[in-house]
Amino acid sequence: MEIDPFIFRLSIFILSIFVGYYVVWSVTPSLHTPLMSVTNAISSVIIVGAIIAALAGNNINVFETSNIFGFLAILLAAVNIFGGFLVTQRMLAMYKKKKKEK
């Protein structure tokens, strides 16, 4: 008897929730804002779906309706990816220890 691949994906999903649960509890409260901005950036990995939606299919007409939605999603996700990671970087660069600046 074969196991439906959906079950495997569900397993990944459930286990990832647990991983997320333990990893996020160990995040120091002073970094909760960078946590939000970085989770924001990584959730934009949805761009993967957008790329497939935009590029796959026929090569003759680049702008079928479904492709257009794909391209729009790429645009939105790109704003988020660059904006999210860079603003996180900028914030994290500000967190300094006492000894560094004497």
Binding site: V19, G20, V27, S30, L35, G49, I51, S66, F69, M91
Partner: protein, 464 residues
């Protein structure tokens, strides 16, 4: 590229994302963590482009859209002031939500690209997954827009409520479930559009009854939603990177919401249903009698702090509004020169988003090892000479411990009243967000400093 190899690469980027979050357990490792996140993202994008293997005209457009979006994102990231971080995060959440909706629409219109069947005969499981992804994405989109408008001040921060609101939401919620069911049986395009339209409406209705100071919960919740939307799309596209990331972000946002709710001693549903609006009335009327208040000026404050041996600073949202963090840091430097020991105490729900105060202090070059959380520092107030409360209010109100009738009873507060003297910078005696009088104003050891937070702090620097 074979499908198996592709799946392994997606797994690797999922793991890199986990490491990115893991890095945030301390400021030292956090920068490295962010780098892992960037690598994970680049990997996921790179292998996807290779696997599609389409390098014709569409590929050029892909690069073009990436560049345009990327430049906009980078521009915002460098330009945004740190005080505007809550609305920035809310704005970014709305983009993730909308992107999820767009991908779901695309998958619905052209399912064979994703191996989901043909239009009109999409696999039922995929249809459910993409409906959920689209619905949650749409709720995230409009909800985040409302949160953004409220945080930006473009829309009143006060709760908007109307008769039968909860019933309307319930009705819409039920109709969403009904729509998904009928969508699966009929595969009708119109039902899919209605599903998205109603979800957009639900997003708006869900956030408008929630007040400004509850925004930390709302932002965390929308953070969580954006994750679940991504996971929903991940199931549709059978993509493990998206499933892993969605689950991580979803649980991250949920934990933050929980921490924020606990910081206010309220249940999640109490916040979401706009609970404090109802209790506001009784709190306001019961405390109308005039009580004597001691007020002082910057010289008094400077004198008190200069002669203290330890000072604890309690920042709140008012500090962010007044942009007083840099002035505050200068004041602390001056105090340190006088040999005063200074630390910062931060309440979990201070500000408009989790960790809001920490970022502002970090921006003002305050070393993070001088900044403490509520549990770490609360016992120190008893031994401290001066507590300098700047822009915080409800989180210092002793009523939360003494008066079971009070709406904030049971909320963990900073024990500011235990310090020898309290300097309370505030523009007037008006009550805080919870609409209740702060007992602390009338204590013998409290000196009220009636002024703008930044101006008062600057005046104190001059007097020091």
């Amino acid at each position: 590229m074979s499908a198996n190899l592709l799946a392994i690469f997606y797994l690797v980027s999922g793991v890199l994302f986990i490491l990115a979050l893991r890095g945030l357990s301390s400021p030292e490792t956090s920068r490295q963590g962010n780098l892992y996140g960037i690598i994970g993202m680049a990997l996921a994008i790179g292998v996807t482009v290779l696997s599609v293997g389409n390098f014709s005209t569409g590929f050029l457009y892909l690069i073009l859209f990436l560049l345009i979006g990327g430049s906009i994102g980078a521009f915002i990231a460098f330009k945004i002031p740190m005080t505007a971080m809550p609305e920035l995060v809310a704005g970014f959440h709305s983009l993730v939500g909308l992107a999820a909706v767009f991908v779901a629409i695309s998958a619905f219109l052209n399912p064979n690209v994703f191996n989901l069947g043909m239009p009109g005969s999409i696999k039922i499981a995929s249809l459910i997954e993409m409906s959920l992804g689209a619905a949650i994405g749409a709720i995230t989109f409009t909800g985040s827009i409302i949160a953004f408008l409220k945080l930006r001040g473009l829309m009143s921060g006060s709760p908007i409520t109307f008769f039968g609101q909860h019933y309307l939401n319930l009705l819409l919620g039920i109709s969403l479930i009904g729509l998904i069911y009928f969508l699966c049986t009929t595969q009708s395009q119109n039902l899919f559009w209605s599903l998205i339209a109603i979800s957009l409406l639900v997003g708006i209705l869900l956030i408008i009854p929630i007040g400004g100071a509850d925004m930390p919960v709302v932002i965390s919740m929308l953070n969580s939603y954006s994750g679940w939307a991504a996971a929903g799309i991940g199931f549709t596209l059978e993509n493990s990177a998206l499933i892993i990331t969605g689950a991580l972000v979803g649980s991250s946002g949920a934990i933050l919401s929980y921490i924020m709710c606990k910081g206010m001693n309220r249940s999640f549903f109490n916040v979401i249903l706009g609970g404090w609006g109802a209790t506001e009335e009784s709190g306001k009327t019961s405390s109308k009698e005039q009580r004597p208040v001691k007020s002082g000026n910057s010289d008094d404050a400077a004198f008190l702090m200069k002669n203290a041996s330890s000072v604890i600073i309690v920042p709140g949202y008012g500090m962010a509004v007044a942009q007083a963090q840099h002035a505050l840091r200068e004041m602390v430097d001056a105090l340190k020169k006088n040999g005063v020991k200074v630390t910062y105490a931060i309440h979990p729900v201070a500000g408009r988003m989790p960790g809001h105060m920490n970022v502002l202090l970090a921006e003002a070059n305050v070393p993070y090892d001088e900044v403490f959380e509520l549990e770490e520092i609360n016992n120190d107030f008893a031994n401290c000479d001066v507590a300098y409360v700047i822009g915080a209010n409800d989180v210092t109100n002793p009523v939360a411990k003494t008066d079971p009738q009070s709406p904030i009873y049971g909320m963990p507060i900073l024990d500011v009243e235990k310090s020898k003297s309290v300097l309370f910078v505030k523009r007037s005696l008006s009550p805080g967000y919870a609409g209740i009088d702060n007992d602390l104003f009338y204590r013998d050891n409290t000196l009220m400093l009636f002024a703008d937070a930044k101006k008062m702090t600057e005046d104190i620097i001059k007097s020091l």
